[in-house]
């Protein structure tokens, strides 16, 4: 029994599903995963078509390196940067779908020359070299060695290009923690924690309520018994003014009105 049609139908269907998913899915990360899935299925199809080297290269280079690079850049750019679903260009969606279908139709029409052929198969060629990888190597380092060298130069150029494109020259020295603290205080409005209750207390007697930073009374600072006896000492509003002045010296904002007064 021929194993190939089974593999073709399974992997081919998966590949198309993956491709469609890549185009349709809203999140870029999902797209990347769908694409990886398609590529794996294509690798299977390569393996079925007696191209074991390419199948492995497909897995290693594409699903391994290239897709990881895509995911890496996606993470840098921001995972949640999904497309908005509203199409801005008028008629683009219809045009795109019609164009895609048109491409499929014309491709099939133009395939005439390849129709009704049978595979010759590369096994006999592989055999003359002593294996698929040996055959590819013989061609790459023999007949196509110049192209091979050229791709080497291309790779180096691409590496250099990527470095130059993404490189950012540091024009100012890196900020230290001290520099950042100075920067924070230089603006004048202190954003540190507010002083805790009691900082501005004038009396430490039990019947004197503690004042909160905004000048109001902290009820929890009075024992219930004294409250019940009605012995709570009233707050001296002269003190309040004094506190206000003190707190302004530190830049405390007690409420919106005082802020406006400043």
């Amino acid at each position: 029994m021929d194993f190939e049609p089974v593999m073709f139908w399974i992997s081919g269907t998966f590949a198309v599903i993956g491709a469609l998913g890549m185009v349709i899915s809203k999140k870029a990360v999902h797209s990347a995963l769908f694409l990886a899935f398609t590529m794996l299925n294509l690798a299977v199809l390569y393996a079925v078509q007696s191209a074991p080297f390419l199948a492995v290269a497909q897995v290693v280079v594409y699903t391994g390196a290239v897709m990881m690079l895509f995911l890496f850049v996606l993470m840098m750019v921001g995972v949640d940067s999904s497309d908005s679903l509203i199409e801005e260009i008028k008629g683009q969606r219809v045009l795109a779908i019609l164009g895609g279908i048109g491409l499929i139709v014309f491709f099939i029409f133009l395939m005439g020359g390849s129709m009704y052929r049978t595979f010759v198969g590369v096994e006999s060629v592989d055999a003359t070299y002593g294996g698929n990888i040996q055959g590819l190597a013989a061609l790459m380092f023999g007949k196509y060695v110049l192209i091979f060298e050229a791709t080497a130069a291309l790779l180096i150029t691409a590496v250099l290009g990527a470095m130059i494109l993404t490189h950012r020259e540091r024009l100012t020295p890196k900020k230290s923690q001290g520099d950042m603290a100075k920067e924070l205080f230089a603006k004048g409005d202190y954003r540190g924690p507010l002083p805790p209750p009691g900082v501005f207390a004038r009396h430490n007697a039990v019947d004197t309520p503690a004042l909160l930073p905004d000048g109001s009374i902290a009820k929890s600072s009075l024992p219930d018994a004294i409250v019940a006896r009605g012995d709570v000492r009233s707050v001296d509003y002269d003190d309040m003014a004094e506190i206000q002045i003190l707190s302004e010296g530190l830049g405390i904002v007690s409420d919106s009105e005082t802020e406006d007064d400043k």
């Binding site: 190939e4 049609p5 073709f8 081919g12 198309v16 491709a19 469609l20 890549m22 185009v23 870029a28 694409l35 398609t38 078509q49 007696s50 191209a51 080297f53 390419l54 594409y62 290239v66 690079l69 895509f70 850049v73 996606l74 750019v77 921001g78 940067s81 999904s82 497309d83 683009q92 045009l95 779908i97 895609g100 491409l103 499929i104 491709f107 099939i108 395939m111 390849s114 129709m115 009704y116 052929r117 049978t118 595979f119 010759v120 198969g121 590369v122 592989d126 698929n132 055959g135 590819l136 061609l139 192209i147 791709t151 291309l154 790779l155 691409a158 290009g161 990527a162 494109l165 993404t166």
Partner: protein
């Protein structure tokens, strides 16, 4: 199996890739679609190699892979640079090349 099955599969995947380029605004996804189109072409090359009994198709597919790798590196670097200056990875926003 006959060669046209593979070729039809290849053309379907290629067309889906082309549609992706036209439809998706996210530059990275558009770029993935281009990769998909290259892969479709590779599939056609491999099956042609098998149709004619000649390894040149497989070698070509290999070279396509190498060049696609280069292209990915440069393309992603460009996307990163654009993202840095515009805070966006949309291909619609840098539409300055117009009348």
């Amino acid at each position: 199996m006959s060669p046209e099955a593979y070729l039809i599969l290849s053309s379907i995947i290629f067309s889906i890739g082309a549609m992706g380029v036209m439809l998706r605004r996210n530059a990275i996804v558009a770029f993935m679609s281009i990769e998909l189109m290259l892969n479709a072409a590779n599939l056609a090359l491999v099956s042609s190699s098998r149709t004619w009994g000649n390894l040149t198709g497989q070698v070509s597919a290999f070279f396509v892979m190498v060049i696609a790798a280069c292209e990915v590196v440069i393309g992603l670097a460009i996307i990163l640079t654009i993202f840095r200056s515009r805070r966006s990875a949309s291909v619609d926003e840098p539409s300055l090349l117009r009348w």
